[in-house]
């Protein structure tokens, strides 16, 4: 207690009244959150969601797996098929490709930053529900097939957050 006025009971009583009045004021302030599955907010540029992997420009350097602080990115040994062929030919040398485990990923974005060829990139998606842990692990093949998409029962309304002088945060329809 740095302010000496707090030692006076009258001042403290006023503090209690102030607190209750502040609570009452916020009771009639408009809400600052949105009803998520029906309304979604537009995410800012550079949002770190799920990761998109472009296998064709990956050079198998393994930097992403090295840098990953959560051990979510892992190199798999694979023999890739030539374009147009079903299975890889016997004589093709196995190569290493990254796969991701979203049960561990903390969406820090280090792998995206470190990738020398830009084979990894964030997408906006961040809201996908899985039924079990195993389906959250993406070996290189599935990883390259693109990031998962969220499923909504009805298409949600999109809202854009804006700064409001008085209220702080406000929302306006995005389209």
């Amino acid at each position: 207690m740095t302010d000496r006025r707090w030692s006076s009971p009258v001042f403290r009583l006023k503090g209690h009244l102030d607190a209750i009045l502040t609570g009452a004021k916020y009771l009639i302030t408009p809400r600052a959150t949105v009803r998520y599955p029906e309304e979604v907010i537009e995410l800012p540029e550079g949002y770190r969601g799920f990761i998109e992997y472009k296998k064709d420009i990956c050079i198998s350097c393994g930097l992403c797996a090295t840098v990953c602080p959560a051990n979510a990115m892992k190199m798999y040994v694979e023999r890739a098929a030539e374009p147009g062929e079903e299975a890889p030919a016997e004589e093709v040398k196995p190569k290493r490709y990254p796969g991701i485990n979203y049960t561990r990923c903390i969406f820090c974005g280090f792998c995206v930053d470190v990738c020398p060829t830009g084979a990894l990139e964030h997408v906006e998606t961040h809201d996908v529900a899985y039924e079990d842990f195993n389906s959250m692990i993406y070996p290189p093949g599935e990883f390259a097939a693109g990031p998962p998409k969220p499923e909504f029962d009805t298409p949600p309304r999109r809202l854009r957050p804006t700064m409001d002088e008085r209220r702080g945060i406000a929302y306006e329809p995005a389209d």
Binding site: A19, I20, G23, Y26, L27, P30, R31, A32, T33, R35
Partner: protein, 341 residues
């Protein structure tokens, strides 16, 4: 057949069954429980600019969220820990809930409808209400858990700190009205003024102590979720946990009814309406509404206050509320002597 129905209806409407079982007893206590917990969450959410419970019955803003929660508690397995004292562990919550609501039987709901009228019905309500915390101690001890024990001890500290000033401030009103009969108190208030206008000090003290004794914020010290998990109720699960959680709300309900009778004129003033059964329904409804407003005010505190430490709460109770309650007795005497002059 008609005779049987009438007989059953008569039985239900007789005060000795209606009061403990329907209103203000068990059934309305449950209804209040369902409403007030939802309302508390909704209110806290609104103050924090969120939505709160919404998806169970969306049109009414998730109003039956608590029914869903109750069903979940009912179907969850109540686990009894190996090391716990089985008897205390299982019967503790049941007795806690029962003793929280038992005081409702002595609360009259109109001039001529009560299960129990006596010269000392105020003392009966207060006394029965003091039973409940003892079972918190039993639960805390019986569950053989550090957090439970700490929570139980905290309850032990708080019982004396809240019940004594609460008795004194309620008795200040008894001094003022010159009776401890709750029915007579309402009668006198309708002749004079509401108790809250006659002795505001006692009303404020009683209200704060009500928060303290039912562990509403800022005195949610016994449970203190972020420090000692859930205090005495740490080991509980399933419907046994549901009972422990409901008990403090039921106690709040009974005390709110008492507050409405002591300070807010009970079932007076009655709206001038006439319809069949209005002699029974109207006074009860007025009393209920007043109690409901008090309860809503108490749960609103959750949105405003953080939790006091136990020493702060004890200091508040012993240094401020206890002297205030004694002062309120003098205030009563002063008002009384002013009245007779």
């Amino acid at each position: 057949m008609m005779g049987l129905l009438e007989w059953i209806l008569d039985l239900l409407l007789s005060p000795w069954l209606f009061v403990p079982l329907i209103y203000p007893g068990l059934i309305s206590a449950f209804a209040v429980l369902l409403f007030i917990i939802w309302f508390e969450r909704k209110l806290a959410a609104k103050v924090q600019l969120r939505y709160g419970p919404l998806y169970v019955l969306k049109r009414l803003g998730g109003a039956i969220q608590l029914v869903a929660d109750l069903l979940r508690y009912l179907f969850a397995e109540p686990i009894v820990p190996d090391q716990a004292d089985r008897l205390a562990f299982i019967f503790g919550p049941i007795l806690l809930f029962a003793s929280s609501y038992i005081a409702a039987i002595a609360i009259p709901i109109s001039y001529d409808f009560y299960a129990f009228r006596s010269e000392i019905s105020l003392l009966v309500v207060l006394g029965l209400n003091t039973l409940a915390p003892a079972f918190n101690l039993v639960i805390g001890w019986g569950s053989n858990n550090k957090f439970g024990l700490i929570g139980g001890l905290r309850e032990g500290f708080l019982i004396t700190a809240d019940e004594i000033p609460m008795f004194v401030s309620a008795l200040a009103m008894a001094v003022l009205y010159g009776t401890m009969d709750l029915v007579r108190m309402v009668e006198l208030q309708s002749e004079w003024l509401w108790g809250i206008a006659l002795n505001p000090l006692a009303a404020v003290t009683f209200f704060v102590l009500m928060l303290l004794s039912t562990s509403r914020f800022p005195f949610e010290i016994v449970e203190a979720e972020s420090e000692i998990v859930m205090g005495p109720f740490t080991e509980y699960s399933g419907i046994l946990y549901g009972l422990t959680m409901g008990a403090s709300y039921v106690k709040l309900y009974v005390l709110s009814l008492l507050f409405a009778i002591l300070f807010l004129g009970g079932w007076e003033p009655l709206p001038p309406l006439e319809f069949p059964g209005s002699w029974l329904i109207l006074p009860g409804a007025v009393l209920f509404l007043k109690a409901l407003v008090i309860m809503c005010l108490s749960v609103f505190m959750r949105a405003v206050y953080p939790r006091y430490r136990i020493d702060q709460a004890l200091r508040l109770a012993w240094h401020y509320l206890f002297p205030a309650s004694i002062l309120s007795v003098f205030l009563s005497l002063l008002v009384l002597s002013g009245w007779s002059i």
